[in-house]
């Protein structure tokens, strides 16, 4: 595996908690790896698992879906629970596709948890560097 592999990570962040946490990491001038591309949605409950599959198929090495902490932080009462249920099932689908579970993370990051955001990005980049590019893996098949 090449040492200079830079994974690409697509992030679906809810508008109210995680997107705000990513903003806070910025205003606090925290430094973290450049590998993430954040897509804003109103709620983690909006994230269709198909978006995640599509990201993987187009070249993402990892995907993060992030929203507000259960049980009570969700701006829309229960969207985070919907995301939780969907992506719990979705993980099993990843198994059957041969995509390592480490490539997908469902995270709860509140608007004040910029530190957690940075930590999640760091962890994921490290994990993915160990796993190597997904594309190579898929192309072998």
């Amino acid at each position: 595996m090449s040492g200079d592999f830079e994974p690409k990570i697509v992030v679906f962040a809810c508008n109210w908690c995680t997107y705000a946490a990513v903003d806070l990491a910025g205003t606090s001038r925290m430094q973290y790896p450049h590998n993430v591309r954040v897509i804003r949605v109103m709620c983690s409950g909006r994230v269709d698992p198909q978006f995640v599959l599509e990201a993987f198929s187009k070249g993402a090495d990892g995907v993060i879906v992030a929203g507000c902490h259960p049980p009570a932080d969700c701006h829309y009462s229960e969207g985070n629970f919907k995301a939780f249920r969907r992506f719990t099932l979705f993980r099993r689908l990843l198994d059957s596709l041969g995509i390592e579970r480490e490539r997908f993370r469902l995270e709860w990051i509140s608007a004040s948890e910029a530190g957690k955001w940075v930590q999640v990005v760091n962890e994921m980049v490290n994990d993915l560097k160990k796993l190597g590019p997904l594309r190579e893996k898929l192309e072998v098949r």
Binding site: A25, I39, C43, A55, A111
Partner: protein, 645 residues
Amino acid sequence: MHEEPRIGVYICHCGLNIAATVDVKEVAEYAKTLPNVVVARDYVFMCSEPGQNLIKDDIKNLGLNRVVVAACSPSMHEPTFRSAVESAGLNKYLFEMANIREHCSWVHGDRKLATEKAKDLVRMAVAKAALLEPLEEKEFPVYNSVLVLGGGVSGMRAALELARYGFDVYLVERSPTLGGKAALIGHVDLQTRGSDIVNKMIELIRRNSRIHVFTNSELIELKGFAGNYECKIRVYPRYVNERCNSCGECEEVCPIDVANEYDFGLSRRKAIFLPFKSAYPPYYVVDHRICTKCGECTRVCRFNAIDLTEEPKELNLNVGALIIATGYDAYRPLKGEYGHGFHNNIVTLFQLERLLDPEGPTRGELIIGGKVPRSIAFIQCVGSRNTTPNARSYCSRMCCTTAITDAIKIREKYPYVDVYIVYKDIMTYGSDESLYLEAGRRLVRFVKFEEEPPSVVISPEGIFIDLYEYTIQERIRIPVDAVVLSTGMIPRRDLEDVVRVTRVSIGGDGFLREAHLKLAPVESPTKGIFLAGAVTGPKNIMESIRMGSAAAAKAMDLLSKGKVVAEPMIASVNEDICSGCAICVGVCPYDAISIKLVDSDRIAHVEEALCMGCGSCVAACPSGAMQQFGFKDKQVRAQVLAAFG
């Protein structure tokens, strides 16, 4: 309809905030190569007047129909650019922002990598922008009136604020009097009692013609949406009218006798009674739940003020907003919890407050079990902070301050009484810390326990408190004449009734949940319903009053424009594709979706005014018939694809 997208891209330097890390010229040059991009420029401050004019001029001169600004977070300047776009004649939802400051230049040091990332983010925004559609903001007129549920300090304050600004207020209180718990307990400081404030507020409400008070009433139905609620209240009869002059003769002949909840069970009252001296409306009331209608009271009343034939009435009210300020219940210890119920000299903090009240059952004298105790101990955190198996996990916020205030008052009036405060931690936050110091100066004795709660031992020799004293690390026994259990606040037992009617949600501790603890602390998750006071969790009197003002301000903010703008980024159904499977119906947290018959086909229908735009139904829809404006599948997907060039 299908005009070709003509996109203008604007890269902001934000002074050096972006330009120092991202090569803005390079990004702008790159943007020019993207599909549908007609013009790309960089400028030092896009949000400035000249920056906005760049956009406006290009819209006019180059016929742009989509605009992308790569700058700061949309939470910062999206509204600015949307209105700039709108003022140039373009629908303001044909605008997309790329966040290259918070998400890029401020968090990455490497200029080359940051520039590459900025290009990616711009490319993603351009891809989405090409698929944006104009959205329409629908407006609905609003009712200039507010229903305030709960006549405690918080609700009264909200009502006063609203009335002052010209809104009609229906103040609906379930009990027979305004005032709430603050009328019965609580010091705002050493000089001011809660009841002083309550009485002042009642006086202002009495004189205000815009505030319509309904006591003995409850909300039984709520329909509609923010700005346009139709509600129904049920007014239970008082059976006593304004001819009553509170002579009290009826009370003497009434045969029904129950514990007086307005003295927390320290005294007895009749079925016909006056809750407390300054109660409002200021006349007697018959407790409709226990009255047997024997008619004794009507026979003795010399003013013809009692009519036992009154029936409950139902009223329909139209309001624009609802403020829920129904307060809390005092925690009631279980029988045997710290000896509660086993000895008359063991009282709760709420009962002590009545004893110390000049209008209470002992006229302000500290008489417990027939005499003034020589020593008295407060046990803190009763029912709070997991001290006992029945206790809640949260801190009840007001008990430390209240107990310490009472301890100071007792030491002031009865210097020979020994006062102990048996505590786990003292939480006299903010300026209340001075009370803690004052208690120390007055030789109130603080005794600390840690994990193991103290035990109250009742023996023929008297009452003892046994505990492991944490500071001296020793097991000790304190003989006392009386014990005060510093009981906390719990959600109201009848909160469920409010929840059933209003569909607000309950949070982890059993109190009502705010839309967001920090970003929307007085809003419920449902637009148009606001929360005030201890209904969202333990609050002291001052905090409840402030929250009443805040909730009133938010309600006025909603109604003051005379119309409400519905959230445009809502869900909508493609009726040609919808199969009526109704998965979306169950997913919607707002009951905004229903199944309707269209030409005998089952089709999902979104009630636009109720939809808040979370998009959960869109992700759940198996056929792609449900879409969210601004976040359609194709729009989000375009962004995903563009992330990879």
